[in-house]
């Protein structure tokens, strides 16, 4: 097969091929490895969204946010409250029946509320030095978890450590994604339906990130990351622009959180610990801070890593040492820690760093 020579045509062909691959992926994976692997891919897509959101904050604007998962938690709990019987059970006087909001209402609301939390946290802290911001966000992440854990008394808002159960799956065009259904004669399992739903939103998030990066705002973020003082001298209102990065990043986290709650059917505080924040940070750092494609790669790699370890770590250790020394979960965290140290030391721009952006104006300029 010969490829067409025109680079533009080649790029288009590439996009079409990737599109086809993404479209058939769940069927191929489901048929060969079982639906549990499709489920893993669904989670990987959620991580891509989270990582891209954090990338706006850490990668573009250079603000180290160590409590990012808190926004994910906000989105997840909001979805949980508005799509489960919990409120009706806890406050029968107020809620006669279980709220069942449409996913098209809950997701934007989750995004909005998470973004609001981001702005609330960012307003007092973003004028501070970067390392203070890291510590404050770290604390914020823990605080949110403490509240989720304890807000079951005297008012039972979060149901404490037990978490909230029986969350309805997202319903699209009258069809719940929670059960398998038939479409055009094809049997669509729940995980596959979720795959397409998550993929569509992931593509939307990627699109937004690319557009923002290519804009005046994307440039302002990178300018702040590179030299905040010079950015201010260029007339950039650094506080507002940073706040925007923070709020937008939080927004993505809120959406991903809502999707997570609907997919999992269950949320509890332990899904939103510090280690989750660190895992998302690892995805951004390892993939390539500020590089959208790199971050996606990082998210996919690290989301699949625990599965690979679960599957391979025990046999390999058995073979090497005759027994399992380290359980896969610890091994995963240990590898994260080592990876952070090594990447910062040897490849600070990540595995797939962003190239210098070149612009070709002269040929197709219409404006003078």
């Amino acid at each position: 097969m010969t490829l067409p020579g025109d680079p533009k045509l080649r790029a288009r062909l590439g996009i079409v091929l990737i599109g086809i691959a993404l479209a058939v992926l769940p069927f191929v994976v489901g048929a060969n490895f079982g639906n549990s692997w499709v489920r893993i891919i669904d989670f990987a897509l959620l991580y891509v969204m989270l990582a891209l959101g954090l990338n706006i904050v850490v990668g573009f604007a250079g603000l180290l946010d160590l409590g990012y998962i808190a926004f994910y938690a906000v989105g997840a709990y909001l979805y949980a409250l508005l799509s489960s019987p919990h409120l009706a059970t806890a406050f029968p006087a107020v809620f006669a029946s279980a709220p069942a909001w449409s996913v098209w209402l809950v997701l934007p609301l989750g995004a909005l509320v998470a973004g609001l939390f981001g702005v609330l946290l960012g307003t007092p802290t973003l004028k501070l030095r970067g390392d203070y911001l890291a510590i404050v966000t770290l604390g914020f992440g823990e605080i949110i978890r403490i509240f989720l854990n304890n807000l079951n008394a005297p008012l039972n808002l979060t149901n404490g450590p037990q978490g909230i159960n029986n969350i309805q799956s997202a319903e699209i065009a009258g069809q719940s994604l929670g059960r398998s259904f038939e479409l055009f004669g094809l049997q669509i399992p729940s995980v596959t339906a979720h795959y397409y739903f998550f993929l569509a939103l992931t593509l939307l998030v990627i699109f937004i990130c690319v557009r923002l990066q290519d804009s005046r705002l994307g440039r302002a973020w990178v300018a702040i990351r590179e030299d905040e003082l010079a950015a201010r001298a260029c007339g950039i209102n650094t506080r507002n622009v940073k706040l925007l990065a923070f709020g937008l990043g939080a927004t993505f986290g809120g959406v991903a959180g809502g999707l997570f709650a609907g997919f999992q059917g269950f949320v509890s505080p332990e899904s939103f610990g510090l280690l989750e924040s660190i895992m998302v940070l690892c995805m951004v750092v390892l993939g390539g801070m500020g590089h959208i494609a790199g971050v996606i790669l990082g998210a996919l790699l690290l989301a699949l890593l625990p599965e690979v370890l679960r599957w391979g770590a025990a046999p390999v250790q058995q073979w090497l040492f005759g027994k399992v020394l380290v359980d896969p979960e610890s091994l995963r965290l240990l590898l994260f820690g080592v990876a952070l140290v090594l990447v910062m030391r040897w490849r600070p721009a990540g595995l797939w760093p962003s190239a210098l952006r070149k612009r070709e104006l002269a040929a197709h300029a219409e404006v003078a």
Partner: protein
């Protein structure tokens, strides 16, 4: 019993521990401008190492305080070695890297230490054996144990010794010079690398002592104990004015007292809505308030941005 006095005493004990840990943060920050996130993990390693040693020494039948001293004497050099290695392996190569790099490295180091500790000591809680006298003394209607007195006195002695070291010795002078301006200090013949390594080692030794104190005070230790403790001690350092040794001491004591009083009275303050399990939240609110209203801390100087 007088609850107010009791909470002040508890706060003083807690604050002494925070202050010792905060010193480690503030000394490193003063010299390198780096938040050593992994410092809390050093405290944890100190506590668990000491507990292991104490567990081995208890059957010997030696008196309790001697056993604890033995545990301490093992934990201190172990922590010093850990602190030294962290600086050498993780931070030194990044001394001229962009500012995000050492922060991210510090988080990596923190995870690695925590996971290694979990492999070594397991996920379960380790209890501190009941070998220290715990008879309470009555003071102004409140109770204070020998252990609590010991913690406060030891911390005070260590802090006095540290102040002496920093203000009166050659090494202390080199530390102050390095924190003022590393380049100039180097020109003046100060071995900056050695001073930085020494700062880490010194902070880690204090962390070891603090680790033993925490384990003794709460009677337990755990591989994940370093995180919250580190966060609070850092808050104490910021409260006092980060980079300022006296500030770390003051900040530690203040934070301990604020937290104790807060935990004691939060139920009354919120009409029973929030209970004492929100104790950990106070440090965080203190941190935000300080950073918003007085980012330079109580004893810190305002530094102008350089153009």
């Amino acid at each position: 019993m007088d609850i107010f006095i009791q909470q002040i005493i508890n706060g003083l004990v807690l604050g002494s521990i925070y202050a010792l840990v905060a010193l480690g943060y503030t000394m490193v920050y003063g010299i390198l401008g780096l938040i050593n996130f992994a410092h809390g993990e050093v405290v944890m390693i100190g506590a668990l190492t000491a507990l292991t040693a104490i567990g081995l020494l208890v059957p010997s039948g030696l008196p309790g305080p001697v056993v604890v001293l033995g545990g301490l004497l093992i934990a201190i050099p172990v922590c010093m070695a850990v602190g030294f290695s962290i600086e050498r392996i993780a931070y030194r190569p990044l001394r001229n890297a962009p500012r995000l790099a050492p922060l991210i490295t510090a988080i990596g180091v923190s995870i690695v230490l925590q996971q290694l500790a979990m492999m070594g000591w397991g996920r379960n809680y380790h209890t501190f054996p009941a070998i220290l006298p715990t008879t309470p003394h009555q003071v102004f209607g409140a109770a204070i144990t020998d252990l609590q007195i010991l913690i406060v006195v030891t911390a005070a002695v260590l802090m006095a010794a540290l102040l002496w070291l920093i203000t009166r010795t050659r090494l202390g002078r080199a530390m102050r010079a390095t924190s003022e301006n590393p380049a100039v200090a180097r020109l003046m013949g100060v071995d900056v690398d050695r001073v930085i390594a020494f700062t880490f080692v010194l902070g880690s030794a204090l962390a070891a002592v603090a680790g033993v104190m925490v384990a003794a005070n709460y009677s337990i230790a755990h591989y994940a104990m370093g995180f919250m403790l580190g966060l609070k001690a850092f808050t104490a350092a910021v409260l006092g004015g980060i980079g300022n040794v006296g500030g770390a001491m003051l900040g530690g004591l203040l934070l301990g007292i604020i937290e104790s009083l807060g935990a004691g009275y939060i139920g009354d303050l919120t009409g029973g809505f929030l209970g004492s399990h929100y104790q950990d939240v106070f440090a965080f609110f203190v941190l935000i308030l300080v950073l918003v209203f007085r980012p330079s801390g109580l004893m810190g100087e305002k530094v102008a941005e350089r153009a």
